[in-house]
Symmetry: C2
Subunit: 315 residues, 2 copies
Amino acid sequence: MVVALGGNAILRGKQLNSYADQFENVRRTSRQMAQLVAAGYQLVLTHGNGPQVGNLLIQNEAAADLVPPVPLDVCGAETQGQIGYMIQQSLRNELTALGLTRPVVTLVTQVLVDADDPAFAAPTKPVGPFFPRDVAEQRMRTKGETWTEIDARGWRKLVCSPQPSGIVEADAIHIMVDAGAVVVAGGGGGVPVRRRPDGRLQGLEVVVDKDLAAYRLALEVGAEALLVLTDVPGVAVDFGKPTQRFLRRVTLAELEDHLVREPFSAGSMGPKVRAAYRFVHDGGRQATICALEDALAGLRGDAGTVVERAEGGRR
Amino acid sequence: MVVALGGNAILRGKQLNSYADQFENVRRTSRQMAQLVAAGYQLVLTHGNGPQVGNLLIQNEAAADLVPPVPLDVCGAETQGQIGYMIQQSLRNELTALGLTRPVVTLVTQVLVDADDPAFAAPTKPVGPFFPRDVAEQRMRTKGETWTEIDARGWRKLVCSPQPSGIVEADAIHIMVDAGAVVVAGGGGGVPVRRRPDGRLQGLEVVVDKDLAAYRLALEVGAEALLVLTDVPGVAVDFGKPTQRFLRRVTLAELEDHLVREPFSAGSMGPKVRAAYRFVHDGGRQATICALEDALAGLRGDAGTVVERAEGGRR
């Protein structure tokens, strides 16, 4: 099974705290993951990298006169090493504490996108630090970049956010999972690459949504279940209204109805719902969206929002 | 077999050039590595990270007021992601061009060091950017760090450089190699960790020499041969004297004589010679130190400096 860790798996709140705090949060997450391993589940873990890649881009800007700036694809690979290291060290520790011996390792992962993805028509995803209008305008003029004014904090660069069409290292992930290892892969949505006409892979300055990449990863490694962990108990409908309620078990058809009626764009729930929907639609047995603390119960269908093919599909 | 890539595998000269240049150099290296795969060798690749981690530390310093600084162990993991990504993408491309299908993947790798390593008595390895005396003195006073004046460029921080005593992810590397994958592992000497009395792993702000880590890696994955690639044709004795000559084939006993007579400290050859010596001493069949361009010939014993257990040990 593939587990998509939310931002709160590594950070508390939106700020990138000290590394001691981050390790403490990763440890809390690793304890939950160790429980899943102890329960017999085979795990592929994936995670976001928003705050980390944001900080790398700030560091790149701050040192731009001293060292060559690092392209966005390479920055993404850096955060896979950084976050993967913290998770694999911490999870190995928690497994050891439970008396479980299991290889735990991070695989640097590239995600394929199609050159003709319509998302290439317009950049929509903000990356990197805020800048004042004059810097943004200069970058647009001299580098052909797209920038947008976010709010009073200033302007941010926009990049395209195409759909994931393949996981380059799916072969390697398969090998590790088959051998009983716990794998961290596809961090930050994977390092986006395209296949050039000559067959060669080439990194791209775009961002693939991490939840959609998790869906793609789950599909390609043949996972039975996709578990999307977040900081709320599940998917709410009528979000923010007096009629708000959490969905518990939904069939694909029911979820389709909800998707038609409301966009789930509130917060970061939209991509999670779409990832869960698409995974089950494309053949997965079950997708669960739940709180980190409910991981094991969610996987068993006893907590969170559980998406299944059809009524009673679980039996 | 384990192949230790020298700095010139990624960079030309000592400067960290643009990423376009780095990718071009990595491609040149990958072509050589693809030839080894085509010849039937199973490869574990490892590499240094000096210039890359140096740049990360410069970026950390430049943005220290904006984002929390990243500890040295986490920086090392970032460079494993960064360099590993470039190698795995490029090598997959070169294999594809040869019609070879093989998983190629980077494994984030921790290297164990012993808490009682005598190297912890005194920091000896410079890391990070140069600073003026007043900054160095302030850091020594306020943070208890060790700094030293290098030359006219200024002062640098020193960290300890203990011996590698184990590769934490050896289990995962084994799995991948047994399945026929090409693995990038142990980059930058590995992320140094110690095992605490409670059994948990903990990252350390130290640096493990990349060639010694390559020796350890070769030993733990049961490699038959260790290939150390550099930018000279082999190991020279009487370096810089009129009597200078390259060693071609040496037995352990002969190499011991040389090691006693001269320290091989000129340039970066010392650690390479010690890694080759220790690998063969501890049971490896052959260690070769040669130029990148001679990789295949060197592996066959036909180029570079080839270290073997005893005369004719090759047959």
